[in-house]
Symmetry: C2
Subunit: 324 residues, 2 copies
């Protein structure tokens, strides 16, 4: 079970290794939203997403003897890059199992961060069996993307920063909107804020049609998505909330948001124009909710986490051409 | 004459009003450059460029009775926005004289930041006479874009941050590459580093064909540009180095760089892909020099200032399409 003590301990381990990302704002965004909007720019984190926090926390928190044998992860995206760079900077091996049809850029980046990438064919190969065999043969430790206390603790360090930065800005109460896939980031931030800034309330943000967490929060129990593809926000589409993360969100989070692809593209274009940052679709759902779902927000201030910036040129160009 | 004491005093006045922008990096950029590359992301400053520092420094440093009567500036771009927002946040009026053919977005933004924009026709109207008449009628104080000690002191606060951030990163010696128009930013940073980190050396960066500062530094005296248009880096094209700024650069700066438009577009695309920030052409000349002019750099580490991010969608899209 992740606790505030684990988050504070993770912060010590992350110090000097992980960036304290800025809290950005623009009067133009305030005007669109009708309230003060602050953006926690985790897209500026090493590897281009918050996942490096969880990766570093997991690697640095492992028993040294286990760490020396190396780590393994399943991921087609940001978790892959976060674990790969964290492992390389710890001087240990990482194996990342990726689908053979993952974007070439993400495969190349994961390799460039020092990982051994093992590709598998979706449909014909059993990913879990492949991972289990490699783990056993080489004694690798599996780093789960969200249902892992050390990973949640790492993501929660961004919540400690949000609490500090809110105080610096004079924000006493706010909704904190967080992009949500498996819930590692949102549950980590929720735990950090519970302990350090209880008037900052986490609310999850997801793509419309893939809002398993929002629906689970309404139902009071875990509900699955019916589809796994068809969203431009692929990085945050997961089958269902995590077993460890959901109880934390159920206890601490407000109602969730679901935003459309068009709102996401508009948010990306506004982040370009007004904040000068690149946000990927899955990373822009919270900003989209802050800007375009204001009727569901009561507080005068909203903090939106821009969780990643790893977007292909074509999709980013599309956002600018349609809404720039 | 601007001194380190003026820069330190400006830092006190700017505290809590101006963003401490992050120092970013990526192993991928290190690989392109063949050395460690750090990017001071001033594009993330309020109004999208470092100019807000100088604007705030000038407004906050004015005699209160003068300040109450308002300020005036000539600018078609970033200085306009910096002065406008700084004046509005001080609760005083600002008049910005802009050419009638300036990009509509920049005119709109300057108005949205609270300025009264007065347009003039290049060629038929005398901008300086117009400004002098308005100043006299209303008792406005002129805020010059670079040949103004309070403005140089404001820009120099980014140099104090660079010195601190370099120490945090363990950088003891480095070339600090700075986009250079009139020289306000580069001379301010040079003064700040002279006092706080003397092994960090400022070097100016300009577009090829508009490298008046590099040529002036070589000649040991002020040399003019022969053309004033034809560069994509319009924000940093000035007729000649400033009368106040040039002697500072002559005393403290190393040799200057001149980069091509293609190198600038490549640097913008790499900043998109690897740092997740938007950099405008004039703001990308230092990163371009760091990445593509390594043969003229001796040190193991280079710090490039990305001075602004106010670029139109079309030009940014072009950079991505050609080099993304």
């Amino acid at each position: 079970m992740t606790s505030i003590e684990m988050i504070v301990a993770a912060r010590s381990r992350l110090k000097g290794r992980v960036r304290r990302t800025p809290l950005l704002s623009s009067p133009f965004l305030d005007e669109v939203a009708g309230r003060r909007v602050f953006v926690k720019a985790e897209c500026l984190q090493h590897t281009g997403s918050f996942k490096f926090r969880g990766g570093w926390s997991a690697l640095s928190g492992l028993d040294p003897a286990m760490r020396r044998r190396g780590v393994i992860a399943f991921s087609s995206g940001n978790h892959a890059q976060g674990v790969a760079l964290a492992a390389t900077r710890h001087g240990v091996a990482s194996v990342i199992i990726m689908p053979a049809d993952a974007p070439k850029l993400k495969i190349d980046n994961t390799r460039a961060f020092g990982a051994e990438v093992v590709l598998y064919e979706r449909g014909t190969e059993d990913r879990d069996a492949l991972g289990a065999r490699l783990s056993e043969e080489r004694g690798l430790t599996l780093i789960r993307p969200y249902d892992e206390p050390l990973v949640i603790a790492g993501q929660g360090t961004s919540g400690l920063e949000i609490a500090e930065q809110a105080q610096e800005e004079g924000i006493t109460a706010a909704d904190v909107l967080v992009p949500c896939g498996g819930g590692g980031l949102s549950s980590g931030i929720a735990l950090a804020l519970e302990a350090t800034a209880p008037d900052l309330t986490v609310r999850t943000c997801e793509p419309e049609g893939f809002d398993d967490t929002a629906r689970s929060l309404r139902a009071g129990q875990i509900v699955r998505n019916t589809a796994m593809s068809g969203s431009i926000c692929d990085a945050i589409v997961t089958p269902q909330p995590g077993k460890i993360t959901f109880p934390i969100l159920k206890r601490l989070a407000g109602t969730g948001f679901a935003v459309t692809d068009e709102e996401v593209l508009r948010a990306m274009a506004l982040a370009f124009k007004r904040l000068k940052i690149i946000v990927e679709p899955g990373g822009a759902v919270a900003l989209a909710a802050a800007l375009f779902h204001g009727a569901a927000i009561d507080r005068d201030s909203v903090i939106a986490v821009a969780s990643g910036g790893n977007v292909d040129t074509d999709l980013f160009t599309l956002a600018l051409q349609r809404f720039g």
